[in-house]
Symmetry: C2
């Protein structure tokens, strides 16, 4: 708890940013939300009985945005349909508890591809199903889990980023200092029609965002 | 015609490969198919009246695989629905003429993103519609059109490749000597579940396919 308070205060004293508060310890999460200035992102609630029961009062009190993971006491479902069912229980449960729909970010949860060749396909299918059932729901995922155990993880994370964007992923837990990754993000966003007249891409290119490619156009 | 014959013979004398025969001149296409050993890929037919009338007899005679472009005498439709309608006329017209469904590759046609921020979104939507209407139909596209007029085209082509793969694109016109592009292809194929136990990815990694990344894992 003391660490959480120290971290939140120290970062917010130095930078004008909102933070994602993440801890397995509900008391530390509560302390982080108490000292956070502005609205925090709570990462994360899930359907495990103790986690749900412990965090719901905290969420009602501090009203952060909430990352909701598709898992319960039996673990993470192997199928896309199973993830959808957990997403539905999360979204319905949170909105029933008074959390605005717009404050929820669902994470369908991705496994390392090295453990199961089909796990990204299942994850992307789950993403499609969740977005079809709940139009407008926001989604999030961590990028780097997918590459665990394989060489050249940055290469895998980059390709996974674009696959997620192709399926409408809204937010990522990623390293904003990874220049290749951020270049990939700007490029895919342009291709997907989110960058009118390619303005942000061209601005990034002029600012040297693609200099890692070495070969000038 | 003499150039086409020379090119096909010269390449097939040197390499054991099948070729894609591409020319705006139907007589040159016919000559290419005549001298080609094995089955060629004809790139391409479309619904322009003269092109269709000129090539259909050639296709019936030589039975190549056929790339079919979603355009007619009025041009390329601006909407995904319009591309689907042309794809349907192409597939139905070719199969009615005796071309096996499995020999057709539909190209929904992509414009440069610099000309219209929505054009890739329309293209990917067309791809979805065509695959939904004709399950099992194969699709193809050229990668580099999309980046025309912008800096760092290789970066754009790479991200576009992954977006296309996410929507089930089956084949590409691409530069197989572009190592970054081929690494991206191997990575995305693995993530999409087409590389059991990550065998091809790991083999490529060990063979140095990702050495351009400089930083070793």
């Amino acid at each position: 708890m003391a660490c959480m308070e120290w971290a939140v205060r120290t970062i917010q004293d130095a930078l004008d940013v909102r933070l994602s508060i993440d801890s397995p310890n509900p008391a530390a999460l509560r302390r982080g939300l108490e000292v956070h200035r502005g609205r925090a992102l709570l990462d994360s609630i899930n359907l495990e009985h103790d986690r749900w029961a412990g965090l719901l009062p905290v969420i009602k009190e501090f009203r952060p945005e909430v990352v909701a993971l598709c898992m319960d006491d039996t673990g993470i479902p192997a199928t896309a349909q199973g993830r959808l069912e957990l997403a539905a229980r999360l979204i319905d449960g949170l909105t029933d508890a008074g959390v605005p729909f717009a404050d929820i970010l669902v994470d369908p949860l991705v496994f390392p591809i090295a453990t199961d060749s089909r796990c990204v396909a299942v994850f992307l299918e789950a993403l499609d199903l969740i977005k079809a059932r709940y139009p407008g729901i926001r989604t999030i995922c961590g990028l780097s889990n997918v590459s665990f155990g394989l060489p050249y993880r940055a290469q895998i994370n980059q390709a996974f980023l674009v696959l997620c964007l192709a399926h409408g992923m809204d937010a990522f837990i990623l390293d904003p200092l990874d220049r290749r990754l951020m270049a990939q993000l700007a490029t895919a966003e342009m291709l997907l029609g989110h960058d009118e007249f390619c303005r942000r891409y061209l601005t990034a290119a002029r600012a040297g965002a693609f200099d890692f490619l070495h070969v000038r156009p």
